[in-house]
């Protein structure tokens, strides 16, 4: 009898322990329940303009991260122990040394009354020191390094002419990198020094490679009147969607544009190849069953399986860098950004809007950059997939009112 009573209590204890653990987990993994309050103070500096610029990027990045509510405090502090009414305080100094920006930053945990980050960051770019500080703070606060040390390549212009631009992940440091009187669309990073794009540079839409250091453009000529989406595979090979005999399929081509292997053989449209990080699978779009859906091709077995069923027009898949999720666009009269597991299932709607296109994951697999129109504002948005927070990183301006694709780079050191 004693044994039974003991076992009964042991069972009760274990059940209550599990439920307590679940509640605790829920609170820390869903920060949208309550945003963490951060005060960002003025940075001490002999160059107040630089100090203001660095601080504004810190504020911007923390806001875009979506986990934080940021107070931009217009004063400096030296003794953080007097700070109250927030969870963290950012302060410190910034100066220039030998053409570099040196940020001496501290983050004070108000609750624990401890300096939790005390770091000196040097870079030749003022925005980059801010990005590194915020990324380090996010590592401390969330356990995962932040996403801001990456670049977005994007196509923008008007409906007649679109060129390629590069910006920091938060939309800072925008630089125009091509100047064609044509439409250059669907850019994708090959590596930190090379991008592919689809352009109308030679009568037909065709895929090209652009070397970012010397501006040299290589035509991945495929002897077809249509090719798009050059996605790097490995060993100098690219997966490209090519029109052959009036069906568009995905082929592996080398840098000379020679077809090395045909990866799909469908009737209709088969496009948007995207490889998993292990290169074991290729995710793509095909309308071979009527409407466009997302499929996965096992590259060793050569077997395809359909992954999406919930949306009649599933397009633009992007595999997360950790290889666990696929973001895609559900197109139609309204657009939605959805996420599914790498093998399908676990479908989740992240955001719905009038128009969304070209989702691309940040290297930490938590954020998606996407362009479109949200709340009637066109631009490139950064979406926190954990709590759905979204921020406009790059809006329209006199130079561009239209976008034509984007891609987020890996972490740049």
């Amino acid at each position: 009898m004693k044994k039974i009573i003991f076992l009964f209590f042991a069972f009760l204890l274990s059940v209550s322990g599990v439920s307590y653990a679940q509640n605790y987990e829920l609170n820390i993994t869903n920060p949208n329940y309550q945003k963490i309050l951060i005060n960002v103070y003025n940075l001490e500096s002999s160059n107040p303009v630089l100090a203001q610029k660095v601080k504004s990027v810190i504020v911007r990045d923390l806001n875009i991260a979506g986990f934080y509510q940021v107070n931009d405090i217009n004063t400096t502090i030296t003794n953080p122990s007097s700070v109250s009414g927030c969870n963290y305080a950012f302060f410190g100094s910034v100066n220039e040394s030998n053409g570099n920006v040196v940020l001496d930053a501290k983050v004070y945990n108000v609750t624990n009354q401890k300096i939790v980050i005390n770091t000196k960051i040097t870079s030749n770019n003022f925005a980059w020191v801010s990005h590194k500080l915020v990324d380090n703070f996010m590592l401390y606060d969330t356990g995962i390094y932040g996403p801001f040390e990456s670049k977005i390549i994007f196509s923008a212009g008007n409906h007649k002419v679109k060129n390629l631009y590069i910006a920091d992940f938060d939309g800072e440091n925008i630089q125009q990198i091509t100047h064609y009187n044509s439409n250059l669309l669907l850019p994708m990073w090959v590596n930190n020094n090379e991008v592919s794009f689809t352009g109308y540079l030679n009568r037909y839409p065709s895929v090209y490679l652009l070397n970012l250091s010397n501006g040299h453009i290589t035509h991945l000529s495929t002897n077809s009147n249509f090719s798009e989406n050059a996605t790097y595979y490995k060993d100098g090979l690219y997966a490209v969607s090519i029109n052959k005999d009036s069906n568009i399929n995905i082929f592996l081509v080398n840098k000379s544009g020679q077809i090395v292997k045909q990866l799909t053989n469908n009737h209709g449209i088969t496009i948007s190849p995207y490889f998993t990080p292990s290169l074991s699978k290729m995710i793509y779009v095909s309308n071979s069953e009527g409407s466009p859906q997302i499929y996965s091709l096992d590259l060793s077995l050569g077997v395809s399986s359909r992954l999406t069923y919930d949306c009649p027009n599933s397009q633009s898949p992007a595999v997360s860098p950790d290889g666990t999720k696929i973001a895609y666009i559900c197109a139609g009269s309204n657009f939605a950004l959805n996420i599914i597991g790498i093998n399908g299932g676990n479908s989740e709607n992240i955001i719905s809007s009038y128009y969304l296109d070209s989702p691309s994951w940040s290297y930490d697999s938590r954020y998606i950059a996407v362009y479109g129109s949200i709340d009637s504002k066109e631009g490139i948005y950064i979406i926190n997939t954990i709590n759905g927070n979204f921020s406009l990183a790059i809006g329209t301006n006199k130079l561009y009112s239209d976008f034509g694709g984007l891609d987020v780079s890996k972490k740049i050191n």
């Binding site: 689809t198 009568r203 249509f226 798009e228 568009i248 209709g268 449209i269 496009i271 948007s272 197109a331």
Partner: protein, 182 residues
Amino acid sequence: MKKTYLSLAAIVSASFLAYSCSCTTPKKPVAEAPAPVKQEVQQQAPAPAPVAQPQVNEEQMLKEIFQRIHFNFNRANLTHIDKWGINQNVPKVLDGIADYMAKHPNIRIKIEGNCDERGTEAYNLALGQRRADAAKNYLVMHGIAADRIETLSNGKLKPVDPAHNEYAWAKNRNDQFVILSK
């Protein structure tokens, strides 16, 4: 937000209904327009010198023959379209083009496939190509040499109507025929 779009769409739809009644029904070619006149009794009189009309008429006639053909949403098949202000027997239009090209062996054309905005950039580029190829394949099957026809996809880059409603989208899903040489 959605409501705003719906009411906007309703207002625009109403105006387009009026527009479509007058515009989307194929107009009769000018060359066929005049009814036959009984002129036998006046045969003694010399025939009037031709006015400089034929060029205009030919242009108008070509415009009519090589009119844009339309598609259903997300489709590239050639069928009778009767929706959202478009009423067009697409195969019949293509038959007219094939006939004309057969009679004029020097004419070369480019077919440009266009899409509405309700798709991603990448998908619409591909869909535009499929639409252009569909028309080309039809003409080839009806005896026109393939090397007389080029195809090009504009995706959704060249909308006829920039509005954001069903009537505009229906107009924007088309193949445009461009005469390259006569």
